[in-house]
């Protein structure tokens, strides 16, 4: 169960990132499938090369932010459909990630990570990672919540909610799309870097399905906490991500369902589809 919570906390950053892109900016961004392993790859390569793990993590975030900027650039500058622009970046990143790593997989098990200093501080080893991750999640949630309530943050929300009104109110919407997409992918890169360090490896295929997992977190969060304002939406992303992991683990470990680990993607897709359909069924009828 600690494993599920830990993974849920790592993917909470993806959930928050997807919330930022899909909900705040109204920009369906699939870049994340590439920027997650990009964050992991950059971080792992730098750690292997002897860099400070914190700097390596920041570098992973910065690289992922650049990936987000590329997608935003394709969309804003060349008017490529956002979905397609993000798919192009995602596909390109697979090659980029292989180049960065030089091989499909890098092991970090014996290396120093940002977690190393926290072992042996009295906390039991299996608690160190969840507690550390939870603290980081709280910092990011508070930071995002405060950010979205600033003049700059409100302008970003208006950009996604009503771009015509935003421009009429003097908001240069393009600029906010760049910043938002950079920020969103930086969070995904952070998740990738943390994943690599807590699991002890970086892998080019680790990003497959990241977007669906992030969406699952957002949608599960929205289903349990409806329309209660920004803070609850952010908290919902975190809770959604953890609940999703627990649900998946229960489904896969209960032998009665006959599921095996390779069914994970199918189970995720079904879960997201259910979360999307249930509110509609609850409203009575599928006519809408």
């Amino acid at each position: 169960m600690f494993g599920a919570v830990e993974l849920g906390l790592i993917y909470a950053f993806v959930g928050l990132a997807v919330f930022l892109a899909f909900r705040v900016l109204d920009f369906p961004d699939l870049t994340v499938d590439g920027s997650f392993p990009l964050g992991a790859a950059v971080c792992a390569v730098l750690i292997i090369a002897g860099a400070n793990p914190w700097l390596a993590t920041l570098a992973g975030m910065a690289a992922a932010a650049c990936a987000g900027l590329v997608t935003a650039f394709l969309n804003v500058r060349f008017k490529i459909l956002h979905l397609l622009a993000s798919i192009l970046t995602m596909i390109a990143l697979f090659s980029v990630n292989l180049r960065i790593m030089g091989r499909p997989n890098i092991a970090l098990l014996t290396e120093q990570t940002i977690l190393t200093p926290f072992y042996g501080l009295g906390l039991r080893d299996y608690l160190v990672r969840p507690v550390f991750l939870a603290a980081l999640v709280i910092v990011v949630v508070v930071g995002l919540g405060l950010f979205l309530a600033t003049d700059f943050g409100l302008a970003m929300r208006a950009t996604g909610a009503n771009p015509r009104m935003a421009r009429a109110q003097g908001i240069a919407t393009d600029r906010y799309i760049y910043v938002g997409m950079g920020l969103s992918n930086a969070l995904v890169g952070l998740a990738g870097a943390l994943f690599a360090q807590t699991n002890g490896f970086a892998d080019v295929t680790a990003g497959v399905g990241t977007i669906v997992v992030g969406l699952a977190a957002v949608i599960v969060g929205e289903t349990i906490l409806r329309f209660r304002g920004l803070w609850w939406a952010l908290i919902g992303c975190v809770l959604g991500s953890i609940l999703y992991r627990i649900a998946i683990q229960l489904a896969l470990s209960s032998g009665s369902l006959g599921l095996q680990p390779s069914d994970l993607n199918l189970a995720t897709a079904v879960l997201v589809a259910l979360a999307l359909v249930l509110p509609r069924l609850r409203k009575g009828g599928m006519t809408a």
Binding site: L146, F147, A149, T150, D151, F152, G153, L154, A155, R157, A158, A161, N162, R164, M165, A166, R167, A168, Q169, G170, I171, A172, T173, F227
Partner: protein, 264 residues
């Protein structure tokens, strides 16, 4: 205050569907003037407003606001000088944001948007006072999401938002057309108060001849992208709705004749 020189806008230029929406319009609006714009569908009224606001870029000609040539400026940049209220009540605000958040977005217009909290005590107090002056009781609902309000309430707030940060120019695009009669009257009244209180230079598109003559100081009729009537002062005050309708029919009749010739 607003000067439009030889302004032409052609949609789908260079294709068989090319449509000349504005055809060499010259117009000069003095500071504080309140112009009502009328004309049939497709006459170019909304296009003229959009060209001044920046949503549409002129094919030829210039737009000068407050002495500055803004022809190539983006909508966002022009918003320092120009505020706008749309026909669609949903277009002027963000439904998923609260009333006070929408007001804060408008209050920051024309200033750099930084990382300070948007809803300071100062701003909240200002919002309560200004929203209270509308007399709609909305000052008690500043935390409500905009989507919960009626079209009329949203339009009244959009008008209020337009006066924040004193833009100087106000563009109204049939801003009462989507409202029920009672609320439309309220918004018209509010428009009159707002424009005179803030001494705004105003361009208002309307389909109502009555409204065109009742409100404002000058009336302009567009037809097929050209100014066909421009009256103010005593000449305007002597006009009745009937006269306007007659003129309206006359310019439209001309095109009918033209069409008849073409078909014949």
């Amino acid at each position: 205050m607003i000067r439009v020189e030889n302004l032409s806008v052609t949609f789908a230029a260079g294709t068989p569907l090319a449509k000349r929406a504005l055809d060499g319009v010259d117009l000069s609006v003095a500071p504080g003037e309140f112009v009502s714009l009328i004309g049939s569908n497709g006459a170019g009224k909304s296009t003229l407003l959009s060209a001044i606001a920046g949503d549409i870029t002129a094919s030829t000609g210039r737009v000068i606001i407050d002495g500055e040539d803004v022809t190539r400026q983006s909508t966002a940049r022009r918003s320092r000088k120009v505020a706008r209220v749309f026909q669609d009540p949903l277009a002027g605000s963000c439904g998923q944001l609260t009333i006070e958040e929408n007001l804060a977005i408008a209050a920051a217009r024309g200033a750099p948007r930084g990382l300070r909290h948007a809803l300071t005590h100062q701003r909240r107090a200002l919002f309560r006072e200004r929203v209270g002056s509308l007399g709609l009781g909305l000052e008690a609902r500043l935390h409500d999401r905009m989507a919960l309000l009626s079209g009329g309430q949203r339009q009244a707030l959009a008008l209020l938002m337009a006066t924040f940060s004193r833009s100087g120019v106000l563009l109204l695009d049939e801003h009462t057309a989507a409202l029920d009669p009672g609320m439309a009257e309220f918004v018209i009244d509010l428009t009159r108060r707002t424009v005179s209180e803030h001494k705004l230079t105003t361009l208002m598109v309307t389909h109502s001849m009555r409204q065109a003559l009742d409100l404002g100081t000058r009336t302009i009729m567009l037809h097929e992208g050209k100014v066909v009537l421009d009256v103010k002062g005593s000449e305007r005050s002597g006009l009745g709705v009937d006269d306007l309708v007659k003129m309206f029919r006359r310019v439209r009749g001309q095109t009918l004749d033209d069409d008849a010739l073409l078909i014949g």
